[in-house]
Symmetry: C2
Subunit: 201 residues, 2 copies
C-alpha cells in the first residue's frame, strides 16, 4: 500500500492543497484560478479534478476524519454515559482536532478558517458538509440510544447543539482574537444548550 504510486499521490495532493492555500492568501479565493493552482503544483488542470471534485474541496480535506472521530467516540462510550455527555465529548474532541490536524501547519489552519468564514461559496460548502455530518451523527446517536431517544429527539439534540455552537461562534467572531477564544465561545454555547437537553436523559 505504500508503493511509489501511493507516495506520489500523497505528495501531489499535498502540493495542490498548499499551492491553493498560498494562492488564496495572496490573491483571494475567487481571484485564483484552477489553472494557477495546478500550475503551481506542477500538474495539469485536469489532474486537479482527480484529487478534488471542485475548487472549494481543496480546503475541506479533513471533514471525513472529523465525522469518523465523532462516530468512534459514540461507539466507544462508557455504559453509563448520557447522550449529553457523549455529545459534549464530541464537541471538545472535534475542536481539539481542528487545531492539531497533522496534515498542515497551524498558520494554514488559521488561514483556512478565515477563508471558510469569509468566502460565501466556502461558507455554503462548509454548512452543507456540516449538515451531512450532523445527520449521520444524529442517526448514530439514535442507534446508540435506541431505547431512550427517538430519531427526532436525537436529531433535535444534535441539531440544537451544533446549531448553537455554530451561531454563537460566528456571532462572536469580531470579539475573538485567537482560536482559543473562539473555542471558548463554542464550548459555552454547547454548555448552555446541553444544560437544556440533559432533561432528555
Amino acid at each position: 500500500m505504500v508503493g511509489l504510486r501511493e507516495r506520489k499521490k500523497q505528495r501531489t495532493r499535498r502540493a495542490l492543497i498548499e499551492a491553493a492555500l498560498r494562492l488564496f492568501e495572496e490573491k483571494g479565493f475567487e481571484e485564483t484560478t484552477l489553472a494557477e493552482i495546478a500550475a503551481a503544483a506542477d500538474v495539469s488542470t485536469r489532474t486537479f479534478f482527480s484529487y478534488f471534485a471542485a475548487k472549494e474541496d481543496v480546503l475541506f480535506y479533513d471533514t471525513g476524519a472529523r465525522a469518523e472521530l465523532a462516530m468512534s467516540l459514540l461507539a466507544g462510550r462508557a455504559p453509563d454515559e448520557s447522550p449529553a455527555d457523549v455529545l459534549m465529548k464530541v464537541v471538545d474532541e472535534s475542536m481539539r482536532m481542528t487545531a492539531t490536524y497533522e496534515e498542515l501547519t497551524f498558520e494554514n489552519t488559521e488561514l483556512r478558517i478565515r477563508l471558510i468564514l469569509t468566502v460565501p461559496a466556502l461558507q455554503a460548502k462548509a454548512l452543507l458538509l456540516l449538515f451531512d455530518t450532523q445527520l449521520a451523527l444524529a442517526r448514530a446517536l439514535h442507534d446508540a440510544y435506541r431505547d431512550r431517544l427517538s430519531l427526532t429527539e436525537a436529531a433535535a439534540a444534535v441539531g440544537a447543539l451544533v446549531g448553537a455552537i455554530k451561531l454563537a461562534v460566528f456571532a462572536n467572531l469580531d470579539n475573538s482574537r485567537s482560536l482559543q477564544e473562539i473555542w471558548d465561545t463554542g464550548r459555552r454555547a454547547a454548555q448552555i444548550t446541553l444544560a437544556g437537553l440533559r432533561s432528555l436523559g
Copy 2:
C-alpha cells in the same frame, strides 16, 4: 410607482420563476440550462441575471420576506413575552408563511421544497441563507433583550432552535407524507429545544 415598467418587470420575474420551476420539474435542476429558462420566459439569457444573481436564486424568492417577518414579530412583542415565547411565535409564523406565500401556488411550493431538499447546490444555498437570517435574528434578539441576553446567549438560543428544527425535519423526511407532518416534526423539535432554553429566562 405602478407604471407599465414596474408591472412588466414583475411579469418577467414571475415568468422566469415559473419557467424555471416547470423546467426543473420536467428535467431536473442541473439538467436545465439558463438558456432554456430564459427562452421559456422570452427574454435573453443575459436578462436572467438582472433578476437573479445566480441560477439557484430563482428558487429563493421569499427569503427576504421571511426575515422581515421574524424581525417584525420581535419588534412587536408584548412587554411580558419571554425570548422563548417570541422565538416559538417566529417558528410558527414562519412555517405558516411558507405554506401560504402569495406569489406562487401550493403545488409549486411543494416542488420547490422538494428541489431544495434534494439538490446539493440548492441545499447549500438554503443553508447559507438560513444562516444569515439566523445571525440577523440573533442580533435582533440580543438588542430586544439587551438586559437579559448576551449576544452569545442570543446566538446560542437562535442557533439551537433553528438547528434542532432543521435537523429533525430533515431526519424525518422519509416518514413525512405531507407538509403538515413536516411542520409537526419541526414544532416538536422546537418545543424540545425551547423547554431547555426557557431556563435562560
